[in-house]
């Protein structure tokens, strides 16, 4: 990535502003995910309803950043690294907004839960899933901030762990479901939450793939699918 300044200082400033907006959005999204998963673990419905309320902020930022990028393309005609950067930002912002949506979903499920997840046998698996997911999200945002392609590959590995954790959790839940049909609604809700957490990991992985694209020009999306 070219770190040298453009001749036009205004152009530099515009690119920098977009970058900082993305980081702000990332911070917001991270906070919301942290809060939503905390609420899930603790059964804190008050926290959960707060989180749900503030998702609009994330959406507003997405629209704003998209607008800025359109403007940048129209007015600056970015090329090479600058073009990949802008292209990636548009994509990253979409994924970030999705993560925000998933956090909102988790939060709304928490408000509907009748039992504490602590009482569930899957609690520990859930807790470990959440820990991994938080790690992934944090690493992905860090990866973008520093445009570090190496870190991207590590995140991909972490996501694999998350996926297998999720599969384990699914199996355990289904086993208990068969035994304890009474609490089926809660189990399903928790299932959806777990699914959301797994989705968050996927989105975070996408973000890292875009970072690789920006840094090296390689589009590594979907390559692993083909290999399989």
């Amino acid at each position: 990535m070219n770190t040298q300044d453009h001749i036009s200082q205004a152009y530099n400033d515009e690119l920098e502003e977009v970058r900082s907006k993305v980081l702000t959005m990332g911070g917001l999204v991270e906070d919301h995910f942290q809060g939503a998963t905390k609420a899930l673990l603790k059964g804190d419905t008050e926290l959960a309803s707060d989180i749900a309320k503030y998702d609009y902020k994330v959406n507003a930022l997405e629209v704003e950043i998209d607008d800025d990028c359109t403007s940048l393309i129209a007015r600056r005609q970015p090329t090479a690294g600058d073009l990949r950067n802008v292209f990636a930002v548009i994509k990253i912002v979409t994924d970030l907004e999705r993560i925000g949506d998933e956090s909102e979903k988790i939060a709304s499920f928490v408000t509907e839960l009748s039992v504490d997840t602590k009482s569930m046998t899957i609690y520990n698996s859930l807790k470990s899933m959440i820990k991994t997911a938080r790690e992934i999200l944090s690493a992905a945002l860090d990866c973008y901030a520093r445009l570090d392609a190496k870190q991207a590959l590590e995140v991909a590995k972490l996501d694999e762990d998350l996926d297998s954790n999720f599969n384990d959790l699914k199996r355990t839940l289904i086993t208990y479901l068969i035994e304890d049909v009474k609490n089926i609604e809660d189990f399903i809700r928790v299932m959806w939450c777990a699914r959301s957490i797994e989705r968050v990991g996927d989105h975070a992985k996408n973000i890292c793939q875009y970072v690789v694209y920006v840094a090296h020009g390689n589009d590594i999306r979907h390559i692993t699918d083909q290999k399989d």
Binding site: I7, S8, Q9, Y11, S71, A74, Q77
Partner: protein, 276 residues
């Protein structure tokens, strides 16, 4: 879109679309301006547009659409062309510049012009910049003149490169430097408005970028109108963009809006590169 459709759209156009007139902070204003090159050849049809203070207005449009003609009316350079008739009103700070009492020579000291091909005088760099101030007697003594020359060259981003060779000929500089010298020469007379007629079309990309950056800096001191063939340049540097087509002003809006969502179809066609 065929030529015929284009012409029809043009004829249907009543008033200029967008915001040709500003409500406040207007430096120069054109009101219902018509320009004829002789009795029969009309180049500009009923154009009204404002130049905002400390703003850059870019004028774009296909060849022969009248943008250069209008620009040259703003400092009465068209007076030098035989048979050129200008109707309508053009004002600078609310004063009609075509009034009989206005001296075009004085006007041109107030409204400077930079041309397409860099044209420094065949004199030294110092004398190039000092010519205008000497002509109008802007400074009282030699040291004031020295300061003025230094100030102008600094504002034009040329001081560091020339301070050690002020008495070398201006024609010995590179293309981009010559154009910056012409800009320094223009601002030495302390104008209020600077008109630029395709200032970078004869320069390479780096020189062009340097001049564009310079224009961005000059914006805080002067009001600037630029005619350019390059839409991308208009997109990069201007605050407002005016699109001309066959002598008519089709649309004027903030540059951001013009390039992301133009109001008129003809503007969109030109910007996206679609022509009949």
């Amino acid at each position: 879109m065929s030529n015929q459709d284009e012409l029809e759209l043009l004829q249907e156009l009543g008033e200029t679309v967008g915001t040709p007139k500003l409500k406040e902070k207007v430096r120069m204003s054109c009101n219902h301006v018509d320009v004829f090159y002789n009795e029969t050849a009309q180049a500009i049809f009923d154009v009204s547009v404002d130049l905002g203070k400390n703003q850059i207005l870019a004028m774009i449009g296909p060849s022969g659409c009248g943008k250069s003609t209008l620009l040259r009316c703003l400092n009465r350079m068209n007076d030098t062309i035989d048979g050129c008739i200008v109707n309508g009103e053009i004002t600078l700070d609310d004063e009609d510049i075509y009034n009989k009492t206005i001296d075009p020579v004085l006007l041109r000291a107030n409204v400077g012009m930079v041309f397409q091909k860099p044209n420094p005088f065949p004199k030294s760099i110092y004398d190039n910049v000092a010519y205008g101030p000497r002509l109008h007697g802007l400074t009282k003594n030699a040291s004031e003149l020295d300061d003025l020359v230094e100030e102008s060259l600094t504002k034009a981003g040329l001081w560091k490169e020339t301070k050690d060779r002020l008495n070398k000929p201006g024609t010995g500089l590179s293309g981009g430097q010559q154009q910056r010298l012409c800009i320094a020469r223009t601002i030495a007379v302390k104008p209020e408005v600077i008109l630029m007629d395709e200032p970078t079309s004869a320069l390479d990309p780096i020189a062009t970028a340097t001049i564009e950056e310079l224009m961005y800096d000059l914006k805080s001191f002067y009001t600037i109108a630029v005619v350019t063939h390059s839409m991308q340049q208009a997109a990069r540097i201007s605050d407002r963009t005016a699109y001309f087509h066959l002598g008519r002003l089709v649309e004027v809006n903030n540059t951001d809006d013009v390039f992301t969502n133009p109001e008129h179809k003809l503007t969109e066609n030109y910007i996206t590169g679609r022509f009949g």
